[in-house]
Symmetry: D2
Subunit: 403 residues, 4 copies
């Protein structure tokens, strides 16, 4: 019986099968690719996704009509964490960012025609996609309302102009979902619209791959130029001028699925460190029996458990149709920092071996560091959390009251 | 509808009524007693408990046959946190330590006769009790197996000899539950037995009130001498030589109820600080709009939410009859430190006012500091957590796997 | 030979004699007064100061013409730390706050007549004094320019009106140095003047002792009302409208001498904890051999050493006549937090004994906590530090360059 | 006039000229080599060293007879920090690890003949060297006494057999200084000897470059096999069986020079972040005016200042011929962690830009992380620090007493 009433036995079983699949199929693929999924290319992606389909764990988050298991957010929390135990796991299950978040949004907002054309092939792993929102300073970043990319109405539909960067997965994506300002000025919170832009549109160009500390994402983090990029009216996703609201539909859950996947990496790091500590002798003891190492192991365990609790709570709210703005911000801020601490401690436990490429910890360190910045830096989330707390007080409610 | 499927609407309602009761009845009593419940004596205790009974929130944790609401651990998590919002709240609801833990244990272990004699008056608030386990070094403390107090079989029953300290609530208690070694030597994990010792037993003497940083507990923290203390055979609680096992019955849940109550204080501290920050001007801004203050407010919110998630998870396991050894250790370690951080930050936000007796924060600081030591210092818990993780690894299971 | 070229052999010798005096004479006095100097009253103060005079360690900071050793700031760093090893030490040497800072300022600013009347008896320990600057919100606190107490020119001299709080040592002081606004409005940085107000002035009233977490200061922290308080023109200390500048003369060095004294307490806490850890057995080891305890001991040692280095650097700058604004802010912020951490860890090492009044650690915890707020909260100092760094950058200098 | 009496005006001037040289000559070279000195090869090394010679800042640490400025440790503290402001600076000045530490040791221990043959060309930048001590587990690492590489007396001299790893700079080094056990068994602290092994010795083979998180060191971190490696008697450095003592001669100062160089990087990181924060607008403010950013800037400044103070104190002791075991351990532990925090915060301030290769912060993050492990992990140092504190207590001296 599941410990948590949030989870059905079926979901728990799917999570177990996912864990098994990751250990038996996915992890063996890590070594040939130096621990970096992106180096495997489409061949690897196809192979792993076929294996996942065979194991019955593919695309667990999409509805059954698109070939998935239709997991709610709490179910994803359980399964995605297991998939995240390898950097290659989310790829195999087709739940990697940004595709997974795009599927979530398309399912919620797209028209039936758009779903057939964009969601179905994405859900089935036939294509990849990207989400083009972030802009270099002084554009949309921590502050989305700073959006400067513009779309103007033209006879053929809309013309988009602007520069985006850190567009994950852009290289090789079949299409982009692009946020552009259709009314208002940068700084105003209204007036954004989402557009579906096909990769072969001559107005969308990948300027460069940004060299980043992390390297695991398929298709890299790209700088993308929209230059006289004309799209038809059918390319509008949802309604005109509602882009910021739709972004919230994507961002809250996407924040959580990021957390779930990274939590898997934290557990993996802990497993690697514990195995090392249990094995290695130092000063006449097992490393695992030295107090300072025990402290690091215990703190890892605490950080993982606390992250999991926060993620689950936020998922409950999202599953009930609540906004989850506060609970996802809390869970994201804590988890991003906790995962970082866990990987850092695990690496420290392993000493010189930990900084070497002989084990995966320094790779993980590089991959998880940006998560304290991506999807909103911790400082921006803390600012938003505090503002909500103060507003709550001014509204006469007590701080910290239980939901 | 409750967000968490762990909670029935009835329990949520009880929690709401408890919150209301605390705000309307309990908090007004704080000021007359300088924020320290113990100064109010039996008069205060009786008055508050009658009010709680009137409000239908008294003794929520005991079965209905003893006048309570029969909450499981998850229900307690919700209600005790609300009661803990004032240092006087647990007293009013009759869920203060050590009585609450003793009721829990008596209900689980005592004979029907013992329940009538010891549990019923305790549950009804007619008497107080204490739990005499901790000993000064080198006796039972962080390491319970160091137990040195001995009980020898004598014709009249058992004769107990030994010295205990930090026996909370001993002064004024109607009886003590005393742990004594009935076989084995200090250092061996077996051979302890629990005894019910009436306060009028001439062999049990309160040597002194230990002057401690915290002062809120009724009956203080006492040093108690068992000197030729003879009790009849019926005074044995449960079976001879099973004391350490019974202690676990008490300690796991008691750790969690401590956490629940202290979490209430953390929320109170946050509320006090937020009210101040929203009101106070500094350098031309509201204090609540200064970034470093926002960071403290946000971190408080995160700490409270993470503690709550860990407590809830541990309670789920306890409610399912699992040992909860790991999850309660994790929740206790994190919560004790988180509550401390929250109170410390809240005090810092309030500046000089925070260290003054004009508001309750310096009182809270004194009360919560020992919680990082009581019920097992953080270091002991971390040591135990790490050992279980390593054992799990050696048994071939992966670290951090979800329960 | 001293390790540091900053210290002459004479100063090193004075520090050694101070250490010896504290151990042999001062510490034995602690126990009779429950560890709280203020409870000893004038009898204790007189007795200890006579003993210090006899040991040749009295008033090391004042010039020889006032009976002292004329130590520069670096010399004080060495000697005050030794005196601070007991909460009673600074009292014995007549270097406790606020008298020590007042002597420093009077020596720098007062007229010869004022020195005879106010500095000499203070330096000789015949009287105590106080410094009346801080006001309750929204007055002068973290932001001195918010000063609301006003002094108006009247025929007899000046009339002061306003409310002060946290005026340390006010009760029993022979006089106050009072900051009042003589021009400009609250919020303006100019226009303050310092006045010497005799305790028998009917216009100065001690309203109450503020109940505070710390209790060691002689004369408490008082709320003081200046109500139609008329003083003659000779009561002006220095020049009219230069009060804020003079306050800097006092505050920079006073910040450092606070740090020196508290650093002594940190060392004392560490000594108490190490003695306990070396003695106590747990789980079959000496406590001092358990890794998590070793970590706490090491971190204490690091914190003490780092604080000492920062204090010394700031003192060097002050001794050279530099402003020391940045270096004293850095040293104060770090030391206040480091001392707090050291005491907190030391208490943790001692477990239940640590929270008891049987040893001094919980007393120290109470005394040092406010130091993160007094003399400028850490947040205010960090804000000022960062602003200077950014200004330095804008001026074209590199951040962190060595002085 | 220098603020610190530890520094002569000449040394201060050399430091200033070094800073100027780094900004004008070294930093422009960074970009062409992607921020990683090692990619520049010998061409770059030669060019930069010639420029340094021309600027009169070359080899500041070696005696004038070898073409240097003969700086003592305190002088190095000043100059090396300036050189460390770029990853390329130490290379340019010929003070990079491991050469700099080898020069220090050769000067102290080598015979005149060995100095001519090994020290002079190294000091003049004509060759590079390496230090072959560390072994893969279970050999010499955190615990040097675990040394397993053996040297046996043979007719031609000595035969060395064993495996080393993390031998920095081995690839391209003209010779290695190799630690091998000449008596005793692994675990015994005695019985090591140092040998000078020429790179063309057929018994010394570079097995591989270890792929590591950091990449800046010339010649990489190599795994080196000594396999039937025969050296003549003149290859013995110092006396047989005194290798562990000599290692201390190298390790204490080498620890400090590491700290000095990394402190330069911390300052650079802070400068980069401050420049960005002063320039970037967010939410209508300059980033540098947001409180959480100010906190990070201030904490960086504090960490740099505290590290500098600890390094200087340790250098004073070393310059006086004291062992410095405790003070260098304290300084190394704190500085390694402080530098890491500074780089991490600086990167965070810069957001997405910070994780990109467009600026150097993610490069710095990779380079400084291993410093918490290299030259003794923080845990090993803390263990040693605590043991000395406890021994000091048992010897009757007080903890934390000033040196």
């Amino acid at each position: 019986m599941p410990v948590n009433p949030d989870h059905s036995p079926e979901v728990v079983d799917l999570a177990r099968r996912t864990a098994k699949f990751v250990r038996e199929v996915v992890i063996p693929a890590e070594e040939e690719h130096g621990g970096v999924p992106a180096t495997g290319g489409e061949v690897l992606r196809t192979r792993l996704q076929e294996a996942a389909r065979g194991a019955g764990v593919f695309a667990p988050h999409v509805p059954s009509e698109y070939g998935g298991h239709g997991l709610d957010m709490r179910g994803r929390a359980l399964v995605f964490e297991e998939a995240g135990y390898s950097l290659f796991g989310p790829l195999a299950l087709n739940i990697a960012a940004p595709d997974e978040g795009n599927m979530h949004m398309l399912e919620a907002i797209a028209t039936p025609e758009q779903k057939e054309r964009y969601l179905r092939p994405l859900a089935e792993g036939r294509v990849r996609s990207c989400f083009a929102m972030t802009e270099p300073a002084p554009g949309a970043g921590s502050d989305p309302s700073a959006l400067t990319t513009r779309a103007e109405k033209v006879p053929e539909g809309w013309r988009i102009d602007g520069r985006k960067w850190f567009i994950t997965g852009a290289d090789g994506a079949a299409y982009a979902i692009c946020m552009a300002r259709t009314s208002g000025e940068p700084g105003a919170r209204g007036g954004a619209t989402m557009f579906l832009v096909d990769a072969d549109n001559p107005g969308m160009k990948i300027v460069r791959h940004i060299d980043t500390l992390d390297e695991a994402f398929f298709g890299g983090h790209c700088e993308v130029l929209f230059d006289n990029c004309v799209v038809p009216d059918e390319a509008v996703l949802g309604e005109v001028d509602k882009g910021f609201e739709y972004a919230q539909v994507r961002l809250g859950p996407a924040r959580m699925t990021h957390c779930m996947r990274w939590l898997g990496i934290a557990r993996r790091a802990q497993d690697i460190a514990v195995a090392r500590a249990a094995d290695r002798q130092l000063f006449g003891s097992r490393l695992a029996e030295l107090g300072m190492v025990q402290q690091m192991i215990a703190d890892n365990e605490i950080d993982v458990a606390a992250s999991r609790g926060l993620i689950l709570q936020a998922c409950r709210e999202l599953d009930q149709g609540r906004s989850g703005a506060q609970s996802t911000a809390i869970a994201k801020t804590f988890t991003a920092e906790a995962v970082w601490r866990v990987v850092d401690r695990s690496l420290q436990i392993c000493g010189a071996l930990g900084v070497s490429g002989d084990i995966l910890l320094s790779r993980f360190l590089r991959e998880v560091r940006p998560f304290r910045i991506y999807d909103g830096p911790s400082e921006t989330h803390r600012w938003a959390i505090a503002r909500r707390v103060v507003r709550r007080h001014l509204d006469g409610r007590t701080a910290g009251a239980q939901p």
